[in-house]
């Protein structure tokens, strides 16, 4: 790679050709503030419309100021990142953004996490010299995401995530000039669009324009209702990220502290979604083997590959965009919903309480889970299997609200019977984890042999689309993995065109899988955080004595006492679902 040399703030810097001024400056410790720019390194995700103009710098000989995030550093450039001219322009631009922003910082959901707030602080903005009309938009509340566009600063990150990364294509800039804003088509609400509620727009929004629907008040109400038994389940990815909300290093596992905090919050039972993940493997793994053996027997009606169905945004995605594939995904419910179904039957029976007295709360790294638990098919007589889904962020807020000092909490265990899990359940939180867990169980069930190894490195990683062939004792099983819906689309299109053939495919909507979910503490476009969470997940798996779902004693017991065997009629009734063609729902409405 060609090297070039330039001067930034009187320091000479040598970088590769093609480097932006922003990146070049970073190499010598010059931090140029940015706002719209966002880059998840190594994941191929970058937003650089060059729109906010906060990162402008002075380039000697250039007529106007240059946006550092999109201007290529050239040999011999002389750059000043903090001259009078630059600082004046940068502060004015920031003042302008703030002048069209509600002054609601005290009550904003994003307070303390707002990148605009941080920028104003960093630039020492104390007064807005350009007060004027503010843009006002109608608020849009969907089952999972709230759009408060008064707070939109047109960074376009959400649009980039929705279109380029997820290829969902709901969010796009509309209108011109001062009225320009990001919106679903025809300014409809999100629930009238093909939004999957993946929440990646929320994950990257620098301000409070996009946030999750807040379920904490309802949970607080339930917790303080003495007539209710309130139980909680926590998804695998939560424990790998919750600590960040309390200032802990990314990648710190806080499983024990989390259980302790939940108990102190007043939950009657603290359970684990990982238990339901093990259950999912039992069902999904059995389903895979069933389809596989029928396929091997020459049954041509059998649908392969089998696609995972744990991810609710992914379910929404194929229901909207690939309805012809709706028979291919596993009919197994997601772990969250399996947990709810078992809790409100098996567990409620054990506790001898009516399902209406039992409130099931889930803690999820996910925004779409809020929508998933509200789906009609996941309720009995109007009583949902899972009552409320909180994000990792909402849990952190609840813990703070309850005056709990997270740092001094002891490590505590989950309760039984729905709190026991294996390492296979844990790795659900990272991309490739579900299929790895499935392989661990399916291999042993199929070959009737013990696995020679438990770590399938070939299934792990951060690459958007991965393929691997696992040897099932002589039978090569072809596995595909995609995370990010755009990658999922590519994989699906390859299948449709016959370009690729797989036996099983895992799809997760969020980059990195659930650890990168839309409900996690904000990564602030630092992709190393995602990697650290991923490492945390695999280390928890390693620490577990039991690492195969079918070895979970409470799962074995559940089948013995209640379900019979995987894919039994009862299991089918409680743990499986079916999908709908929702490609034309809006046409029908209109």
């Amino acid at each position: 790679m060609d090297k070039i040399e330039l001067t930034i703030d009187n320091k000479t810097v040598e970088v590769s050709k093609g480097t932006t001024i922003l990146e070049a400056a970073k190499t010598i410790g010059v931090h140029i503030p940015t706002l719209c720019h966002m880059k998840l390194h190594d994941m191929g995700i970058e937003n650089k419309p060059g729109g906010c103009r906060v990162c402008v710098v002075e380039v000697e000989g250039r007529r106007n100021l240059a946006p550092a995030c999109v201007t290529e550093a050239l040999n011999g450039m002389k750059i000043n990142t903090h001259s009078m001219r630059v600082v004046n322009a940068r502060r004015t631009v920031t003042e302008l953004i703030i002048s069209d922003h509600p002054y609601e910082c005290l009550t904003c959901a994003k307070a303390g996490n707002c990148e605009l707030q941080q920028l104003a602080q960093d630039l020492g903005i104390r007064e807005i010299h350009y007060e004027g009309e503010k843009s006002v938009y109608r608020e849009d509340t969907s089952p999972a995401i709230i759009r408060d566009l008064d707070k939109c600063i047109m960074c376009r990150r959400c649009e980039m995530m929705c279109n380029e990364v997820q290829t969902v294509g709901v969010l796009s800039a509309i209108n011109r000039g001062f009225q320009a804003v990001v919106s679903p088509p025809f300014e409809q609400n999100l629930d009238h669009s093909v939004c999957t509620y993946c929440g990646q727009c929320v994950a990257v929004c620098p301000t409070g324009a996009l946030t999750e629907v807040d379920h904490t008040p309802a949970v607080i109400r339930a917790l303080s209702d003495p007539s209710k038994t309130v139980i909680v389940q926590t998804a695998p990815a939560v424990r790998a990220a919750l600590g960040e909300a309390f200032g802990l290093e990314p990648g710190t596992l806080v499983t024990g502290k989390m259980a302790a905090a939940l108990r102190r919050l007043g939950f009657d039972f603290v359970f684990d979604t990982d238990f339901a993940a093990d259950l999912t493997i039992m069902e999904e793994g059995t389903e895979l083997l069933g389809r596989l053996s029928r396929h091997l027997e020459g049954d041509e009606t059998v649908k392969l590959p089998i696609l995972t169905s744990c991810c609710p945004a992914w379910v929404n995605f194929f229901e909207h965009q690939f309805p012809d594939l709706k028979d291919i995904p596993s009919s197994a419910k997601s772990p969250q919903q399996m947990f709810g179904a078992i809790a409100k039957t098996y567990f409620a029976d054990k506790q001898k309480i009516d399902r209406k007295e039992l409130v099931v709360v889930s803690i999820m790294p996910c925004v779409a889970k809020k929508y998933e638990c509200s789906r009609e098919e996941f309720s009995v007589d109007g009583n949902p299997d899972v009552d409320y889904a909180l994000t990792t962020r909402e849990l952190a807020a609840l813990i703070k609200l309850a005056n709990i000092d997270f740092h001094v909490l002891p490590d505590e265990e989950f309760d039984h019977p729905l709190g026991e899990s294996t390492g296979a359940g844990v790795i659900f939180g990272a991309t490739g984890g579900v299929i790895e867990a499935a392989v661990r169980t399916a291999y042993e069930l199929y070959t009737k042999k013990s696995l020679p190894r438990l770590d399938f490195e070939e299934l792990r990683g951060m690459e958007g689309i991965r393929e691997a062939t696992i040897d099932f004792d002589g039978l090569p099983i072809k596995i595909g993995i995609a995370h990010g819906l755009g990658n999922a689309r590519k994989l699906l299109e390859d299948i449709q065109s016959g370009k690729s053939q797989f036996h099983a495919i895992e799809i997760m909507s969020c980059p990195g899988g659930c650890i990168g979910g839309g409900g996690q503490p904000y990564h602030r476009s630092n992709s190393s955080i995602l990697k650290k969470r991923q490492m945390a997940i695999y280390s928890e798996d390693k620490m577990k004595i039991l690492r195969k779902s079918h070895e979970n004693p409470y799962i074995i017991k559940l089948y013995e006492e209640f379900l019979g065997k995987p894919m039994s009629e009862k299991a089918h009734h409680l743990l499986h679902t079916n999908y709908f063609d929702r490609s034309t729902i809006f046409e029908q409405e209109d």
């Binding site: 729109g51 103009r53 906060v54 402008v56 001219r85 004015t92 350009y130 000039g177 001062f178 320009a180």
Partner: protein, 596 residues
């Protein structure tokens, strides 16, 4: 046929009419009658000769004698000397200041013609729907000769001609072609930017309506030079006639084999498609234009990469504007040297302007670069309407600046206009007179920018809004002196930090009026007065009791009943009711109502 042996043409343009051309016509008629010549000589009032500086103009036909500054007193002499004795009146002939000689018409019949038509050469001459008429006027001959050259040779000719982009930026056209030609790609594109959006500018439309083949021919030439097989015309959907004529022209060109495969047996393939724009001003910016053609939101992106490297569908793309293309065939037909002989050192050739505003001869004109604003406004434009005083001229549309009296003798070219705080732009030229409030003018242009900003970058989206709000504050009488400084500071930040040309130039009308009409801003802010009487909130109407006859006309016309008074007695305006519509002022026959 006619009995008349001679015609006397008297300039009846508004400019000359102000210098009594009506009387001259009358006097000629009486004089001719006295000599019994009214059956042989006819006096005709004409439109403007475009030489008002030397008006009134009198021209004798058939001998084509051209008299300048001919007053009523000269009529007798013209009739007696010229008409009767056949001796031209030397004192009324034009003295060429350069050669110091009198111009007798036979020698330099065109000395008074300030315009040169290159881009508009066929507009108004040929039937645009008939390719043969274009061919008869050297049409496609340039393409024919280019196809016998090497692409690099032809490109070099465009470079040598000094032609610069006529869409506003003024980038050297040949250089642009050369850069695109150097890119290696399986496909390249030639794009014609016909998304004309400057308020008041319509030269591109006129060219496509009047001479579509010149653009088609030039695009094919460009395609050959840069190695592109495909051309696209991005045209506003609001130009149905231009689209229609372009379509007809494209079909005819294909029929004649001048588009398609193996053009003129050269082996060169080229064809052109039309893409429609939805009329967004920002889509005149080439990256926004390309995004719009690709089906995306018409938003600019940061350059580089320039379209010449990565343009339409990521392929090298050369974007030129309609007027630029219309110049191309002429360069090849008449030669580089000929083209270079017109215009100035750094701005060769001509520029088409849409002359509008308070001038007498509103119209589409094409003038050589280097002509002065004075010549354009006072000669070609026939001066200011109603004999009012010239105040300013806005060039470059909403991206340009307001120039004043002191700039009237500046030769117009790309660099000079920028040097005086405006720009060439796409050729809008709007003339303002003493009745125009410059703060309001700045506000008007900013309103346009506000409507047309795509909203992508902060300074243009919010900055211009704030700039406009400050102007509204000032024109409504609520401004403070600090606001004027704010305008300047904010305007400069917008200029320096905006993403595309639209934002970078949008504060120009504000900044240039601040430079040139600072006192007018001060009057609004400090004295709460609008010197031009345009800002409604800063003026009120008063009836001068001495002049009012009590005719009740104002009383009867006032829409809100703010005027009262007895018949034949002075009337009064109740200021608390008055909505300042100005009807009373217009209706009053006694000039009794004044704007204060």
């Amino acid at each position: 046929m006619a009995d008349y042996k001679m015609h006397i043409l008297v300039c009846g343009g508004t400019g000359c009419r102000a210098s009594q051309s009506d009387k001259i016509v009358e006097t000629f008629k009486t004089e001719l009658e006295m000599h019994g010549l009214d059956d042989e000589v006819k006096v005709v009032a004409t439109g403007c000769f475009g030489f008002c500086e030397k008006g009134p103009i009198v021209k004798i036909i058939p001998d084509n004698t051209f008299y300048v500054q001919a007053g009523v007193v000269d009529v007798k002499d013209i009739v007696e000397e010229h008409i009767i004795k056949g001796r031209p009146l030397k004192r009324l002939l034009y003295h060429d200041p350069a050669t110091k000689s009198q111009v007798t018409d036979t020698a330099h019949i065109d000395f008074y013609k300030k315009q040169v038509r290159i881009a508009l050469r066929n507009c108004g001459f040929i039937n645009p729907e008939n390719i043969e008429e274009y061919i008869a006027r050297d049409g496609y001959a340039a393409l024919g000769s280019v196809l016998e050259m090497k692409p690099s040779e032809a490109t070099q000719m465009v470079k040598d001609s000094g032609l610069r982009g006529r869409g506003g930026g003024g980038f050297p056209t040949g250089l642009k072609w050369e850069i695109t030609a150097k890119e290696k790609s399986d496909q390249k594109y030639v794009v014609c930017n016909a998304d004309e959006g400057d308020p008041g500018a319509f030269m591109d439309r006129s060219i496509l309506e009047g001479d579509p083949h010149s653009v088609i021919e030039a695009m094919a030439i460009c395609g050959y030079c840069i190695g592109a097989g495909k051309g696209l015309v991005y045209i506003r959907a609001e130009y149905p006639l231009a689209i229609n004529r372009l379509k007809i022209a494209l079909n005819q060109a294909r029929e004649f084999g001048l588009l398609g495969n193996d053009i003129l047996g050269s082996g060169f393939d080229f064809d052109i498609d039309i893409r429609y724009g939805a009329g967004a001003f920002v889509c005149g910016e080439e990256t926004a234009l390309i995004h719009s053609m690709e089906g995306y939101r018409g938003e600019p992106t940061v350059k580089p990469p320039f379209p010449s490297v990565s343009g339409y569908l990521g392929k090298p793309t050369n974007v030129n504007n309609v007027e630029t293309f219309a110049n191309i065939p002429v360069i090849f037909n008449k030669g580089v040297e000929w083209f270079k002989s017109i215009g100035t050192e750094n701005s060769r050739g001509t520029k088409v302007f849409a002359l509008a505003g308070k001038v007498n001869n509103v119209g589409l004109i094409e003038v050589p670069m280097g002509i002065t604003l004075r010549e354009v406004i006072f000669d070609i434009g026939g001066g200011i309407r109603g004999g009012k005083k010239f105040k300013a001229v806005q060039t470059g549309g909403p991206s340009g600046g307001c120039l004043t009296e002191q700039h009237l003798d500046t030769p117009i070219d790309y660099d000079n206009l920028i040097a005086v705080g405006s720009m060439m732009g796409s050729g809008g030229m709007i003339v303002m007179d003493e009745d125009d409030c410059m703060v309001s003018i700045a506000k008007f242009y900013l309103e346009f920018t506000l409507d047309e900003s795509c909203g992508k970058c902060t300074p243009c989206r919010i900055g211009n809004k704030r700039l406009h709000e400050i102007l509204v504050k000032i024109t409504s009488g609520n401004g403070i002196e600090e606001d004027i400084e704010r305008l300047r500071v904010l305007g400069n930040v917008i200029k320096e930090t905006s993403l595309c040309g639209l934002g970078q130039t949008s504060p120009n009308p504000v900044l240039s009026t601040l430079d040139n009409f600072y006192d007018e801003y001060l009057a609004h802010v400090n004295d709460k007065k609008c010197p031009a009487g345009q800002c409604k909130d800063l003026v009120h109407y008063e009836i001068n009791a001495n002049a009012c006859t009590g005719c009740t006309l104002c009383f009867r016309n006032c829409p809100v009943g703010a005027i009262s008074g007895e018949k034949k007695m002075p009337h009064y305006i109740d200021q608390s009711l008055c909505i300042k519509c100005g009807v009373c002022f217009e209706k009053c026959r006694f000039k009794a109502i004044s704007i204060v």
